[in-house]
């Protein structure tokens, strides 16, 4: 059997139609190409780099297998960074969610002046982490900040120098980060609360349920999707946390407030350990993707079903 391709001469209008169909793809192509190269190509590049013995510059002649990863997980600074991330992320997520939910519930009680309070809670989200860092760095500084203020007010024994103490410095970063993001989480929960069906609440009220019970048993369980979104957003911000740490402590005192992002930066560009830096970036990506991909997947599928 022979396939016979018949070439029919196209009319001009048909050709125009074909071009019309091509245009959308041509419009999308540059963006997609850029993303392919700058995101996925670069990720691939970094993966390859993480198996190489690169030091100051990318070096594709010496290969070390998983050597960079082994050295990474044997390095005390990386372990510190992981521990800090665990402390920071869990406190940041839990406090932001609790504060966000609490404030949203209180704001949802038909509060006069809600219109004035909401923007006050939310404005820190518009600031750069560097600005936030500068403000909190000096406010928590024992020399001029809170401790100094308390002494001025006559509380001579007051002591708050966490930002200078290796053991506690990471918690000062939590304080600043919570300040920056909790208002945003509040806004997410407030939107969620406003979406709750009033009928359900009325029915429960008629059944004699107290306000507290209604919140605990009905409304808060309905907030599950918001908790999930908040978790994903906050977790991914926490893993990326870099600017705030640089502005507040720059990793110090010593290496007390190193985070994975800071480790990557310092090892790649400060200590000429590009291979190790690349491997730390890969670990960061794995952490983020293991949270984001299942989330996006389920969101996209739900979106299609709806």
């Amino acid at each position: 059997m022979a396939d016979v391709t018949v070439i029919v001469p196209r009319r001009a209008s048909e050709r125009r139609l074909a071009i019309q169909e091509l245009i959308p793809k041509l419009v999308l192509a540059p963006s997609f190409a850029l993303i392919l190269l700058f995101v996925y190509g670069f990720i691939l590049f970094t993966i390859v780099l993480s198996f190489s013995g690169s030091k100051l510059l990318p070096d594709f002649s010496t290969w070390v297998g998983f050597g960079n990863y082994q050295r990474l997980f044997a390095h005390p600074n990386w372990i510190t960074a992981l521990k800090n991330l665990a402390i920071f992320a869990s406190l940041y997520i839990v406090i932001c969610s609790a504060l966000g939910l609490g404030l949203a519930i209180l704001l949802d009680q038909k509060i006069r002046g809600e219109g004035a309070l909401r923007p006050i809670y939310l404005y820190p989200m518009a600031l750069s982490f560097i600005v936030t860092g500068v403000a909190w760095k000096w406010f928590l500084d024992p020399g001029i900040g809170l401790e100094h203020v308390m002494h001025q007010w006559g509380w001579e024994s007051f002591s708050f120098r966490w930002i200078k103490e290796g053991k506690y410095a990471i918690y000062t970063i939590v304080i600043a980060a919570v300040w920056q993001s909790s208002g945003f989480v509040m806004a997410m929960f407030l939107a969620g609360l406003r979406g709750v069906d009033n009928e359900v609440i009325k029915a429960a009220q008629i059944d004699g349920a107290s306000t507290f019970t209604i919140y605990r048993r009905i409304i808060i369980p309905l907030m599950r999707p918001v908790f999930l979104s908040a978790f994903v957003v906050l977790a991914h911000l926490a893993i990326k946390s870099y600017d705030l740490v640089v502005a507040m402590t720059d990793g110090g005192p010593g290496t007390a407030t190193w985070t994975p992002a800071l480790f990557m930066q310092k090892f790649t560009f400060g200590r000429n350990e590009m291979g190790m830096g690349a491997s730390s970036a890969i670990i960061m990506m794995i952490m983020i993707f293991s949270i984001i991909i299942p989330y996006l997947y389920s969101e996209l599928r739900m979106g299609r079903r709806a």
């Binding site: 963006s31 850029l34 990318p58 404005y123 600031l127 750069s128 957003v233 996006l296």
Partner: protein, 293 residues
Amino acid sequence: MSAASQDNAARTGVIARAAIYAVLILFAVYYLLPLYVMLVNSLKPLEEIRQGNMLALPQQWTIAPWLSAWSTAQIGVQPIGLRPYFINSVLMVVPAVFISTMLGAMNGYVLTKWRFRGDSFVFGMMLLACFIPFQIVLIPSARILGLLDLSGTVSGLILIHAVYGLGFTTLFFRNYYEAFPTELVRAAQIDGASFFQIFRRILLPSSGPIIVVTVIWQFTNIWNDFLFGSSFSSVDSIPLTVALNNLVNSSTGVKEYNVHFAGAILAALPTLVVYIVSGRYFVRGLMAGAVKG
């Protein structure tokens, strides 16, 4: 219910509401405190900060720290203040926001109204790009900027910000155009309108809100960026956030807290103004970035 118990219930109601207001106001103070601290201390002479109380109003008001932060403060090796870096940031932000928003609008239009096989795969790839830790692209980005001869230039930063903003801008416009009636597009198509005509005449006129949301989102993110700025800039392309960090964390000389605070407010001012003027859209962008689908 007896009158007494009703009275009682009313009283607990009043107390509960008073407590709610007290908590809400307390948190308002907490959120405003750092801004207040920055503002009052940026208007004090340095001596007053060291000796005095950070929470007190200035005894001697002065705008000298602001003038110094703007034009004479020592940043790096040069005593030129933040002004040149402010300009760098503006030169970087405006084109980057424009390019990424425009491309995002076109992408969203194609992905919703000109669907093709594999379009959700393409969108998925672009969406995932929003969330990568940028550390993973730093080394190759530096390389490619070098190859393009854009290392340490404002143009290089524009390119980087425009590319890594594409995911979000595409997401915003895609979700917005998804709800736009496709029948209108089809009808126009039958009438012989071209791809670009449909976009310009039919979609664009009703895209006002999403353009505002996207522009605010991109502006805030790029203005506030530190990672790319600190990795890819050189002396004459350093953006404001990086300069501010250099100012505050330079280890030499006297720490001029009042100048630091004035500088921090200067760096925050553009995004704060945007937020105050169009907070509604700002929040909508945040939500769209958080709740996908």
